[in-house]
Symmetry: C2
Subunit: 316 residues, 2 copies
């Protein structure tokens, strides 16, 4: 297209309905069901931009389900069901299609959602479009807006592993954990349900487009700024190893690569301890919310600008 | 693919969950929401197979919404919302994308549903995947199964107009009504709501793949046979005109061409009059349900076999 994906999407969001101000602009849309919100999201995977070399059909299916469930999780919702439209080239073997469907089914089982059907068509390029639907109590919905100065910034899991997995592809894939993070993302559905139930979370989204990009999105939606504390970011050893082997800065994978599908959220500082009791150790405070000062990284006592660049496709 | 679209879809349906026996195999899937069913369906349009020459981007958008709303209608449900994943080639102009979105928005407004968002990606071939969601009272759901011997077969609107519109493309498009039927299908959402509310309908589906194909589908799902009364089928004059100009049998367009998106349904004979009072004249009794004898057409006193061939793509 003539304009970048994000600009095009922003234009289209204006055309799509606003759902009373909730939904568009967030990870998924919210529709009023009376007693609760229906949460719905759709995400497409096209072969040349989103399917790295060596990804198995099972992993393709798993991924198209996982990325959609991650959007549902980011809104604090419980996944309900999943449908998929699949376009395959004429010469595609039916066993490939079935393996894709098995990947979808197993990912859906993991999050206790029903894979209820779909559509299969012929398309010159393989293109899979998944739609996940969930529901959430009205007061439990998590949005990108709502972060307040004084809140802390936190994330589930770690940062950089999927990005490192992508770099590892050209290393002959010696790092199984990184490769798996890239090829079989885990949507943080259980954690999202706990975050929603806690009542402590002031804003939330997933890190699918990278940590830096997500921080800038929360910043824009909440009209606040963030200071990311580099030393607090949980970075697996594989990321450092792959960084050395590829002679690439660790920051590129941790801040600017996508594919991690962790939850990035804000809470009041006084609630962190209780949240740890609910979620266990699998989240980390990595920064704080400030009224102004731009979005910055604190590292070795210095404040550096956090660039607003992210990852949209495997291939630019 | 190695196998036809329907065979592939049938295989995939087995992999998708059964939703307690409701949904897969019908026009859309049903998910239990406690007090009602959530109805969900997804349909993909790929450029080379589903976008006839001369279709405007607005019509492309309208169609991807309409075909999904038609599936919701076929289940007796009220549409709630719509999302779409759109894959466009890199060189696509943003104005094209916006016109597609406007078509979706206007079709959604017509059926009083919310177009709530989507995803835009780069794909070598234009591929649009829409997902529509609706809800229906549990006792109001319409399924393909349920037709009983002695019931009559009925349809909304007319048959053959979209098929004639497709043939008309090579005639220089002199038949505006047929062309419009092909390019801007109208999902029968209001009629579906009335059919659902009536409590009279024993089975229902849409005629998207053609009248003959739909009759065979109802036959299979309900384990009954049908006798279609040819003289009763409402066929617009344009279909006869285009048939003569193209030297093609009228039957090809009326029975075996797709794209009409009418509702095909069965009711007990004694309820037909009351249903006419609810829906007005816009439905016609076109046949009857029989216990056995195969699916046949009665024409000029003769019983002919109704072939089970339909239409899957604009181009074979």
């Amino acid at each position: 297209m003539d304009v970048g994906e994000k600009a095009a999407v922003a234009d289209l969001i204006k055309l799509a309905g606003s759902c009373g101000g909730i939904g568009p602009g967030d990870d998924a849309a919210a529709v009023d069901l009376g007693d609760r919100y229906l949460i719905i999201t759709t995400d497409m995977i096209a072969k040349h931009t989103h399917v790295p070399e060596g990804m198995t059909p099972w992993q393709v299916g798993w991924t198209v389900a996982a990325v959609n469930y991650s959007d549902i999780a980011a809104m604090g919702a419980i996944p309900l069901c999943f449908v998929v439209s699949m376009g395959f080239p004429k010469e595609t073997d039916i066993s490939y299609v079935k393996d894709v469907a098995r990947g979808i089914k197993e990912c859906s089982e993991m999050v206790a959602a029903d894979y209820v059907g779909g559509d299969t068509k012929e398309c010159y390029e393989m293109a899979l479009s998944g739609t996940a639907v969930g529901t959430v109590r009205k007061e439990g919905i998590l949005l990108r807006s709502g972060a307040k100065p004084g809140n802390v910034l936190a994330m589930t899991g770690s940062a950089g592993l999927a990005g490192a997995g992508f770099e590892d592809l050209t290393l002959g894939s010696k790092h199984a954990r990184a490769r798996k993070a890239l090829m079989e993302p885990i949507p943080r559905v259980k954690e999202a349900a706990l975050l929603s139930a806690s009542g402590f979370v002031t804003s939330c989204m997933d890190t699918s487009d990278g940590l830096a990009s997500s921080i800038h999105e929360l910043s824009k939606a909440s009209e606040v700024n963030f200071m990311l504390n580099w030393d607090a970011v949980p970075i697996p050893n594989d990321v450092y190893e792959i960084s050395e082997l590829k002679l690439l800065p660790v920051e590129d994978m941790v801040l600017y690569a996508g594919g991690d599908y962790q939850l990035l959220f804000t809470v009041e500082r006084e609630n962190v301890e209780e949240l740890h009791q609910m979620l266990g150790k699998d989240f980390t405070v990595i920064g704080e919310v400030r009224e102004k000062g731009g979005n910055v990284v604190r590292r070795s006592g210095q404040l550096l600008t956090l660039e607003n660049k992210g990852f949209e496709h495997f291939k630019g």
